[in-house]
Each structure stands twice: as C-alpha cells, then as structure tokens.
Amino acid sequence: MLRHVLHRLAQSAVVLLVMSFVVYALLGLMPGDPVDLMLAAMPDVTAEDARRLRRLYGLDRPLLERYANWLVAAVQGDLGFSRLHGRPVAEVLWQPLGNTVLLLSVSLAVALAVALPLGMLAALRPRSGFDYAVNLLAFAGISMPVFWLGLMLMTLFSVILGWLPAGGVAPIGGGGLGDRLSHLVLPVATLSVAAIGQHIRYMRGAMIETLRHDWIRTARAKGAGWGRVVLRHGLRNAMIPVVTILALDLGTLFSGALITETVFAYPGMGKLIYDAVMGNDYNLALVGLLLATALTLLGNVLADVAYGWLDPRIRQR
C-alpha cells in the first residue's frame, strides 16, 4: 500500500513538471507582456524605460532559458515575485490556498452529507415517487449556471432577507468563528448544489448495482437485518466507485470554486489565478495553476488510499 502511494506521488510529480512547462509556454503565448500593460497605464513611460524594464524583468531572454531559470529557482524555493500583488508569490498564495481548501472541503462534506443518504434512499426504492423526486433534484442541480445561482442566493439571503453577508471571508478585523461560518454559508451552498446533484447520481447508481449482488441476498438470508445489510455491506461496497469519482471530480469542483469566489469576492485560489492571468502576472498565474493541479492530484492520491481502505482486496496488495 505504501509503495503504491509513493508510486502515485511520484507520478503526480511528473505530471506537475510537465504541466509547469506547458503552462509556462502557454503564458509566453499570451499577447503582450507585463511591461506592455504598464506602458498602456502610464503615459510618461519612455522607449528607454520600456527597454530597461524588459531587461530588468528578464523578458528579453528566450522562452526556454527563462523556463530553465524559473525551474532552478523554484526548486530552490524561490517562486518569484507577483507583479499584481507586489509581494513574493509564496507569500501571496498562502492565505488564498487556506481559504479555498476550507471552501472545497466544507462544500464537499456538505455535498456528501446530503447526497449520500438521498442517493442511498433513492436506490432502496427505485422507481418510487421519492426516487423520482430525488433524481429530478439531482439533474436540476447539475444543470444550473453556478454564477447565476450564486447571485440569486446572494440576492435572496443578503439583500432581501438580510440574513447572511454578501461576500468576503470574515468581517473586518477578524470576527469570531460564527462570523467566519456565516460568511461561508452562501459560497458553500452555491458550490455544493452541483456537487450534490452529481453525487446523488453516483451514489444511487452504485447502490443499486451493489444491492443486486448475490452476497447481499445471502447475507440477508442468513438472518441479518435489512438495515444492517445495507449499511454494513451495501454502503461500503457502493462507496468504492463513489470515492473514485469523487477524486476525479475535484478538478470540476475547483472550477466551480473559481466562479463562486469571483461572485462572492471570496479571496481564494480560483480568483487569484483568474486575476493573475487577466493581469499578466506570469509568476503568480503559473504557481497558482500548479498548486491547484497539485491539490487535485493530491486529492486523487487520497482517494486511492481511501479506495484501498474500502476494498480489502487492494489493501493486501
């Protein structure tokens, strides 16, 4: 198992390395460079200033050389400087990363807490009215534009009802745990709706499949209670495909987080990356993207571990 995890981690590292070059090259293909943007913003920058600044930022070197320099520095822990935030990239990333991990994990927890029981109950009574309603709900959830949902929720709960804050992570000056949680409610609700829909579908499908197996019937015949059979045997086995898909869906969830963060002015990784790309902040965009990728890859490895834990056959390998 340990070897397996190590193997996966090594694989992830290779993916990250390839990714770093691809993104670096892509950023080089973006129109203009940071100095061009500066030129447009400041009327009194002269031709000489432009040349000087390009040299200063190393923009006059060929792509491969710049990438090699960047990689060497990055491996030594120097991730460069964010033009947009005027601070070292490593420093800028820290807090948004925490905010996004919080948003993602709470949303995922909420989504699972809602979706798993619903999916399971629907699977127990396939083709019933309840099953039908849950399905409709699930499909509705995955068919809504996230930004639209976010703005609607904000309109309803912040502006009309005034129950919840319309954005940010906390009131100015920190605030208590309760304040932080109240700022989390709307973004989490927005982000988890689609995930709920998705996971209801997965859970329901996996559960129906599992309950059809012979050994479930055998367990039942042996006199075990239905509830016990479902929970102990059915759920555990149904979780295996669900967990796999969960990991694969992390990338999708992150995309949703980007939109959610933009709507709620929630300072997270998604918004950070978006702003960095739009503002020609190469260093930040690059590291941000890599970090987001690393996050999803890590999620995949974790899912692998959970998979092994759920499926004894893999554990013994």
């Binding site: 203009g32 009327p43 609607m152 100015i172």
Partner: protein, 570 residues
Amino acid sequence: MAAPTQPEPAAMRTPRQWLALLALAVAVLGAPPVAEPAAAARDRLVIGITQFPSTLHPAIDSMMAKTYVLRMALRPVTAFDHDWKLVCVLCTELPSFENGMAEIEALPDGGEGAAVTYRLHPEATWGDGTPVTSADVVFTWEAGRHPQSGFAAMETYNRITGIDVLDDKTFTVHFDRVTFDYNAFGIDLLPAHIERERFEADPAAYRNRTAYVTEPDHPGLYFGPYRIVEVASGSHLVLRRNPTWYGPEPAFETVVVRAVENTSALEANLLSGQIDYIAGELGLSIDQALAFERRHGDRFRVEYKPGLIYEHIDLDLGHPALADARVRQALMHGMDRETISRQLFDGRQPVAHSNVNPLDWVHAEDVPTYAHDPARAAALLDEAGWRMGAGGLRRDAAGTPLRVTLMTTAGNRIRELVAQVLQSQWRAIGVEVRVVNQPPRVLFGDTLTRRRFDGMVMFAWISSPEAVPRTTLHSESIPTPENGWAGQNYTGYASADMDALIDAIERELDRDKRAALWRRLQHLYATDLPALPLYFRADAFVMPAWLKGVRPTGHQYPSSMWVEEWRAAE
C-alpha cells in the same frame, strides 16, 4: 434512471415553478430591505471599490486602486484641487516666478532650466515620529533615477538635474527645461529613514524588498490622515487614524477599503450593509448607478461628476478609408451622440467635441462640431468616392466595400453597448462595422501598444487638467518596434502643426498666449480628427444619506485626497 412513475406534465412543471420563484425573488427587490446596522457612533467607514491595489509602493506601477488608497495615507507635494487648480498639498506655498520662489536659470548646454524652491509643511511627520524632510526628497529622486530601481516612469526624475537642500524642510529643484507647469511636483516622497538602506543594499531588488511590500503596515511609511494597518491581499485594506497627521483630524477612526470586482455583487454588498459607500473612481457603471438611484434614491445619494475621462475612438490612420479626413468627418456626422448620451446616460455624460474637457480652463468653445446629420455624412462619403452600392453598403470605384473593424474592451458593458449602437448608426450611412472585443489586457497590452488594430478602437484617456497631449498626439510618440513600442500615439497621427503646437504650449508661460495655442490645438484636433470624440465619462459616487463631505474631483487625483473632510451626519 428508472422510468418515472409520476405523470410527465408534473415533471416538466417542477423546474419551471422553481425558476419562477427565483424570478419572483428578484422581482420584489424594489421592496425596502432590512434595516441597516445600527447607526451607533459611526467611527468606521467601509468603502467598496472594484479593484484591489497591487503593490502599495507609490512609484512602482500605477493603478487607480492604489492611488485611491494611498491618497488617504500619503500626499504628493503638489496636486490639483476640486477647481482643477494646481495647489500645494505637502508644501506650504506654491512656488512661482511671481513670488520669487522659482526662477529661470541657464543650463550648461546653453538652454534654459528652472530652479524651483519648495517648503514642506513644518509639522509633516511620518507615522513613526520621524519628520518628513528634504532628505526624503533627495532619496526619492535618487531612487527614481536609478536605472535598476524598477520605477515605471523615470522621465519625471530624469528631468531633474539636481536638488539643493536648503534646510530640513526647504529644498530647490533644478529642472532641465522651462515648461508652463514648472511648479508642479506631483511625486510622492519615500521615507528615507526606512527605504534608503533597503534601496542601497541592492537597487535591482529594491522593488521587491521595499517596506511597502514587506511590511506594508509599518507606521513609518505614511504621514497622511490615515495609515495602513492591515492588508488582506485581494480582499480588503484597513486604515486607521494617523496620530502624527498635521491637518484637521478625520472623522472616522477606521476606514476600510474592500474590493469586490463584480459590480452586481458590489451593489448587493452595499444594500446588505456590508459596505457603506461605493467610490465613484472605481465603482458602478453609469447605467447601473442611474438604475440604482431610481430604486434607492431615498436611502442613498448618487452624485455624478463628469471628468477627465475622455471616451473616444482611436482610428488607424493607415486604413485606406480612414486615411481620408472626409470619411472621418462623415463618421462623426453619422453618429447620434446626443441621443446616446441622453438615452443611455440620462445626459450625465456630456458629448465631447474635442479632447479637452469643457471644465478645463483651456477649453475652447468655437471648435468645429459634428451634429447627427446622415445627409451630410452621405454627401461627404460620396465626395470621398464611396458610393452607395448594393445592399446599402458603400463601395469605392474599385468595388471595395467600406468595411471597418471596431474594437473595444470586452467586459466593459457600456462600451460594448455603445459599440453596437454605433454599428447600427453607421450601417445607416452605408458603412459596415464589425465589432470585435478583446479583454483589456490584450487590447491595452498588445493590440493598441503594438498598433495591431485595423480600423477603430474605443477606449478612454484619463488625464489631469491642462495635460499636454504630447504622448498621444505628437508624431514622436508613435509606437514603433524601433522605440520599443513606447508612446501612445496609436493612431499614427503625424502633423507638423500639431507637433509645433504641443512644443509651443509646453514652453509658453503666459496664460493668455497659452489659451490661444490651446484653442488652435483643439481646432486642429476637431478638423483632422485623428480620433473620434464621443463623450466625457462621469463617475457615479453612491453614498449613504449620512455621509457628508465627499467631493468628487473629476481628475486623476481622487476624492480620497480630502478624506479628512468626510464625516457622518444624520
């Protein structure tokens, strides 16, 4: 999925009902929202803006969000006031040739330079108790002219040939030329006692090591009415009263500047009481503000200030059709700018007849104007050889259709809308316009700077009062590969008359003579039409009824420079 057991019509109704519910929720927005937070001793003001400032260093990079925040904590030596007059801010008396604090001196190369003496406010003190002195001026200049410091605009500093320190608070600046704005000294001082060491250790790394980056909450970096005490990157900044401030005490103990990019969300934050006030400099678009005022005019006051934001269309003067001045004039006559201004902006954004704002003292009344006149436009186009052909599209003798691309910034909804209106109005005079929008970073970072547009680009210039259009109209400011794409004369406009006028205006010290030159410049601009003037943009300041003392300026020095005048009054 299993076959449904419920009848199909119900299935199709459910999502619709649900949608209708949300639609209803939106529709009842007109209803009075919940009570705002208790008015208990307003000692905090939360300002909403649409952009988060990048570096807080005053001289590296430039963006409105940074200027807006820094003006509460730092003050330039001189600036323009609400009446668009140059005034002393950090200095005590504006130097002039008349009061003897400025004089013309001979330069070694035989030319003329200016020696201008400033006196800093005697009580100006950095937040850590160190006085603001001439040493800070000298350091700022030294850092600014260092080729590796990373300051964006070295030109400002390079024009200074030397600084004499007369005493702690008095210094004389030697400029290498005599211009009409010889006494303007708009730079921000840097605290030498904190920054000099960091700069001298490694000038090339200074831009990353400055305390404005590493310790932006250091009290010694600010001397204004407020100092920055907390920076939550991408989210908000907190400013607190600065005890060493020498001016009148500001009313609010704390000012918070919060960035919310999405303007609908910004509005929601205002209505839900999370922010108190949306700054006009970086706030709602004009039509959003107008709509907001109609709904919430009872709780909020909306002030509009047309300013030095000049919306116009830069033309590619190398384009076969646009190279002809008659075609450009025809395009002017083809637009109905009055109706656009009235219908889209409630008349709050005045139509522009040249590049100079009517509120600027050098504005001339008698420049040629172009009323909406399709007949005149048609005549001009006929004259230029573009005859009406099949399908209502004009063609030249060779049969080439009159087709132009109009580009503007994607995501700026007002511009996108205006572009579509113009497209439809020009269509009526037989000109086919293709609208192509690009994100601002592409448009400004590449298409414009490298002159890679083919036809027209709609955008705005923001400037200061009596700003000489050297960078936008002088033939030496045409960006080329040879000059590293510097300069902002994107149209490629080259006119010996215009060059001469710009040179002359800069050196003319006599106000009346200068006004006459400015008149000629505007005349030439409105005749040659290197760009098509549209209107002057108005900023919309959305304030709660209790907020008093906020006075929009309409130019590059934001209202926050007078933050100490703001107060809460029920």
